[in-house]
Structures are given as C-alpha cells and as structure tokens.
C-alpha cells in the first residue's frame, strides 16, 4: 500500500460564475520515504494538488488516500485531527506567528495535543537543535534571518513527528546559499525516513529530490524518478 494515493481526482473551482478545472482526473501514488518535487508553470495546478494532498482542499471528484485512509471521507473536525497527526506544512514565506517566539511557534502543533508543558518544551528544543537553532529559541520571528525563520517553520512542521511534510516553495524567499542549506536540511530529514512533497520553481532544488512530477494544465505531464541525489 502506498503512503499517498490520488485516485482520479478532479478539482473544479467557481471563478466568478465560470467553472475552472484546476485538476483533471489526476492519478498519483507516493511511497513512504519519497522526496517529491511538484514543478510546473504558474497556474498549472500544483498548489491545488499540494493542498489536496494535505487534506485541506477536497476534490470535486475522486479520492485521496493517505496511509489507506480516505481523508475527504472524514468529517471536517476529524480531518483537522488527521492533519495534526499525519501532516506537517512548510508554507511560502515561512508564515510564523509574529507574536510567538521561535520555540513557541514550534510548540504550536503540540498545543492541541495531550502533551505536558515540559514535554512540549523538550520536543521543541530537540527539533530546534536538529535545525541548528537551539540558541535562538527565545527570539521572535522578526529577530531572525530569513533562513532561520525557514528552519523554525521546518521545525514546526516536524515537531510532532508526522510521516509526511508538504512544502510550498520553501526556498522561494531565500538567497541561493541559504536555499541550498534548507534543501540540505530537507534532504537529511528525508534520509531519516520523512516523506516530503515540495512545490518548487527552482531547478537547483531538483538535485535533492528522488522524483520530479511535472504538472501542466491540471494534469500530470511527467513523473521522473532520479537516481542518486545530492
């Protein structure tokens, strides 16, 4: 059984009274431990596919199974619980909560789970150390560099040890060197068993991934497995 299975999914948006087909009968499987890049031109449907895989955006037709669970068959609140335990998100431009410190941002997914404060702190400190920010735990986002904020966002995505992380343009707001460091971090996490699905425009990033999926006009145009990476 694949970790992620997309079965014949179509997504139609209503855009000012006009039906827009963002995804057309997409079939896709992603295995546990893969590092997948979704690439394609703007408006091709890759972000729609990412949010659909992330249990945020139900398809108009079709099914999305994660670990064998039909995620859109779950009621909305159960789907939120599912996201909480199965999925980590890394958004464009980091998207940290500006009034919470780095460690508080990392603890955010734990705030709704049954962990004591001490357990939360320990888990958050561990992942901050993993991303190389143990010494900046008490800083607010505006006191961190872009690369550091991205690391906090990654720490937040993995703190509750989800099997999958979805990342939307994770290096889009970073300079080349910092982007490279972030991709190396993702590569390390993937080596440790984390399944990662990433939307990117940056071809430099593709050297770190195991598979590239090209999305065009709402369809999967190509799906290439790479050999050894990085």
């Amino acid at each position: 059984m694949s970790l992620i299975e997309v079965k014949n999914c179509t997504k139609i948006y209503d855009s000012g009274g006009t039906a827009v087909e963002a995804l057309k009968e997409v079939d896709l499987t992603i295995e546990e431990g893969e590092f997948v890049a979704l690439i394609g031109p703007s408006g091709s449907g890759k972000s729609t596919l990412l949010t659909m895989l992330g249990a945020l955006n139900p398809p108009t037709r079709g099914k999305v199974l994660i670990d064998g669970i039909d995620v859109y068959d779950l009621p909305a609140e159960r789907r939120a619980d599912f996201r909480s335990s199965y999925i980590g998100f890394v958004f464009q431009q980091f998207q940290l909560i500006p009034y919470l410190t780095a460690i508080e941002n990392v603890m955010l997914p734990l705030a709704i789970l049954r962990y004591s404060h001490a357990e939360q702190v320990k888990m958050a400190e561990n992942v901050l150390e993993k991303v190389g920010l143990a010494d900046k735990a008490k800083r607010l986002p505006n006191q961190l560099s872009g690369g550091e904020q991205e690391r906090v966002a990654i720490a937040r995505a993995i703190v509750n040890q989800p099997p999958i992380v979805f990342a939307d343009e994770p290096t889009g707001s970073l300079d080349t060197k910092t982007g490279e460091e972030i991709m190396k971090l993702f590569h390390t996490l993937n080596q440790e068993g984390l399944t990662i699905v990433m939307v990117t425009h940056n071809e430099e990033n593709l050297k770190y991934v195991k598979r590239t999926i090209v999305v065009r006009d709402g369809m999967i145009e190509n799906s290439n497995f790479h050999g050894d990476v990085a």
């Binding site: 599912f82 996201r83 998100f89 998207q95 709704i112």
Partner: protein, 388 residues
C-alpha cells in the same frame, strides 16, 4: 503552551486594538456601576428617611376638588380662600385612645393668606408634636413665641425675609424667629406659627384643618396592625377621612423607582453600544488574522480550537474592562452623587456589585465575540492558505 498562551501573546502585541476593546467595555460598565450605585444609595436614603418618621396617617374633613394643599391635603379652594375644618375636640378624643396605636398627635390649622401679593399658606401647629413627628426638622433660630413665626426655607426666600425680620399677616405684625432648614417637601413653602396663635388670627377658635398622627413607631411598620388602627379611627370618628401616608411614601418610592428604570434603560443602551464596539473590532480582527487562522487550521487546529482562542481573548479583555469599569464607576458615583441626587448616604465599595460588573462585562464580551469567533472558525482553510 496552550491555547490561552496564544490568546495572551496576541493581546500583548495588539495594544491599540486591545485598548479600544477595553474602552468599549469600560464605557458600558462604568455607566452601569455609576447609575446602579446612585440608585442603591437613593433607595437606602429614602428608606432611612421614611423609617425615621414611622407610619403616619392624616385625619381630614371630607373634601371635594381643591387646589391649595399641604402634604397632599387640600386646605382651600382658590375661589373662596376658605379652608374647611374639623373640630379640635377630636384631638382630645384621640388623646384618650393614645397608646392604643396612635402615638403622636399633631393637629394643624392651615390658612391661605396673601402677603405682598403672593399667595402663601400659614400653618398653625403644635411644635412639640411636630418635632416628635418629624425628627428631620431643623429650625435655624428659635421656635416662635407669641406674635412670632418660623418660615419654611422657600417661603423665606420668596418673601425675602430672614430671622429677626417682621412680616404682616392678616393685618397683624409677626417677627420671624427662625427659618426651617430645607426638607425637600411642601413644608419648605409654609409659614409656621403656634396653633392657638393661628386660631386667634384667623378667628377659628377650636377649629383645625387636619391632624397628622403617628400610628406606628419607626421601624415597626406592620400593614395588618396599621389597617386595624385606621379602622378603629374611622369607627371612632365618622365623617372624617383617615388616610395613611402610605401614598406619599409610595410617591417618593416611585420617584426613586423611576430613576432606577431610567438607569436600567441607559445602562442597556450603553452596554449595547459597548457590545457593538467589541463586535466590530473583533470582526476586523478576524479579517486581519486570516493568514494566522489558515496556519492554525493547516497544522490541525479544530474549529473549536479557533473559537476558544478568540473567546479567551474576549474574556480576558472583558474581565479587565469589567474591573476597571467597576472602580471607575464607583469613583464617578462618589463624585457625581452630590450633584445628581443630593445624597447624604455614603457610596462605598460594593463587592457584590463588583462581581456583577465583571460577570456582565464577561457576558457582553463573549456574546459580542461569538459571531466573529464563529466566522473565524468557519474560514475555509484553502482560502486562508491561498492568502499565504
């Protein structure tokens, strides 16, 4: 880290918005606390005054419609200037049954007069009885002897007289021996002299206009005993009216009740305004925080978690606003009460009112924030995700 931390940390960074929200709550609660404190003090003062005089009744001749009155008792028609009277012998009979319910007997002869083209009322009274019946009377100067009068405060002002001055009444000259301190009643408009003096002056020997009697000592009011005493008096003295002064008490209570109702109305209006301020501010806050809500939803927050965050923020703001509103309301009441209600009663800190203020502000804050919190929770995560 729990949902409360998110609420507290958010409030810390949105100082202006929080200040505005607290101000909305404080405005409402201050108004409610001020008006409630003044109303409670007015009620307390009213009951103190009413209790000080016990239960009174007035014995009057049967009357038709008249315009000049004293303590609600018509004393003359404007056309005839002729007051109707009852016999003074009734006083003697009342004294015979004194102790069987009737404790103080205060007969009066009230006569309309014209002094310097002004219509006034002269009351012949027994000052000993009057002072026992009205412990709140305070005469500045002396009680009158022969050919002397005491003026009510407004009467003195209208006639431009002070203690030691003279005044001509019905062709006789009287010396003003004292001025009655303000009572806030019709008594302020009268000219007082000894009852025998008035009976001589108006050639009404043995006549009186009405009798005020105390039928129940202060603090011992009992409606069944009061009815029994009134019935006894009516049986003893057919042809006169025995009217309990309850109506006057009720009238004074009605004034306070009207103020209380007015206070409730104003409070409701101001609380609704405060609630609307909270509602609109929270609505704009939801709009501003679309991204943040999207992040929360994407990482697994349930709708109920989002509602909890927003309502916790509202509750914190409401409690702070309620506490500040309580203190500012009491201080304002202390400052304003002498101007609004001429209160002698001290307005103090009232823990019960404080608790009610905080509970009210919490209720208003939560109700006003419920809809914005619901909207925040219902926000489509994909829409929020798109704005990221």
């Amino acid at each position: 880290m729990h949902l409360g931390n998110i609420a507290v940390n958010n409030l810390k960074v949105r100082k202006i918005k929080v200040l505005f929200l607290i101000l909305g709550i404080v405005l409402g609660i201050t108004t409610v606390v001020t008006l409630t404190s003044i109303t409670l003090a007015m009620q307390e003062q009213l009951e103190d005054n009413l209790n000080a005089v016990g239960q009174l009744a007035i014995i009057t001749p049967v009357s038709d419609s008249l315009s000049l009155s004293y303590n609600g008792v018509s004393v003359a028609s404007t056309t005839s200037y002729q007051s109707r009277t009852i016999s003074e012998k009734i006083v003697e009979k009342l004294e015979d049954i004194a102790g069987q319910g009737v404790s103080v007997i205060a007969p009066k002869l009230v006569q309309p007069v014209e002094i310097d083209s002004q219509k006034m009322l002269v009351a012949g009274v027994n000052f000993d009885s009057e002072l026992r019946l009205k412990p709140y009377w305070l005469v500045k100067g002396n009680l009158p002897n022969t050919k002397q009068v005491v003026l009510g405060l407004l009467a003195a002002e209208r006639l431009g007289l002070a203690a030691g001055d003279t005044v001509d009444i019905n062709g006789s000259r009287f010396v003003v021996s004292g001025i009655l301190a303000e009572t806030g009643t019709v008594e302020d408009k009268l000219i007082y002299m000894a009852l025998p003096e008035a009976q001589r002056l108006f050639k009404r020997a043995g006549e009186i206009t009405f009798i005020e009697v105390s039928i129940m000592p202060p603090g011992k009011e009992d409606v069944y005993r009061e009815q029994a005493v009134i019935k006894q008096l009516e049986d003893e003295f057919p042809g006169v009216n025995v009217v309990p002064v309850k109506d006057q008490k009720q009238a004074r209570r009605d004034i306070v009740d009207r103020f209380a109702k007015f206070s409730v109305l104003v409070s409701v209006v101001v609380l609704v305004i405060g609630g609307l301020i909270v509602l609109t501010t929270m609505m704009s806050s939801v709009k501003e925080r679309t991204r943040e809500i999207g992040i929360f939803r994407a990482i697994g927050f349930r709708q109920s978690h989002i509602i909890k965050v927003f309502l916790t923020e509202a509750l914190i703001i409401s409690i702070v606003g309620g506490v500040i509103g309580y203190f500012s309301g009491i201080l304002l009441a202390k400052f304003a009460s002498p101007f609004i209600a001429q209160l002698d009663v001290q307005i103090g800190w009232n823990p019960g009112l404080g608790l009610a203020a905080v509970l009210t502000s919490s209720f208003i804050g939560l109700i006003a924030s419920a809809y914005p919190a619901y909207l925040a929770a219902r926000l489509d995560p994909v829409e929020a995700f798109r704005s990221l």
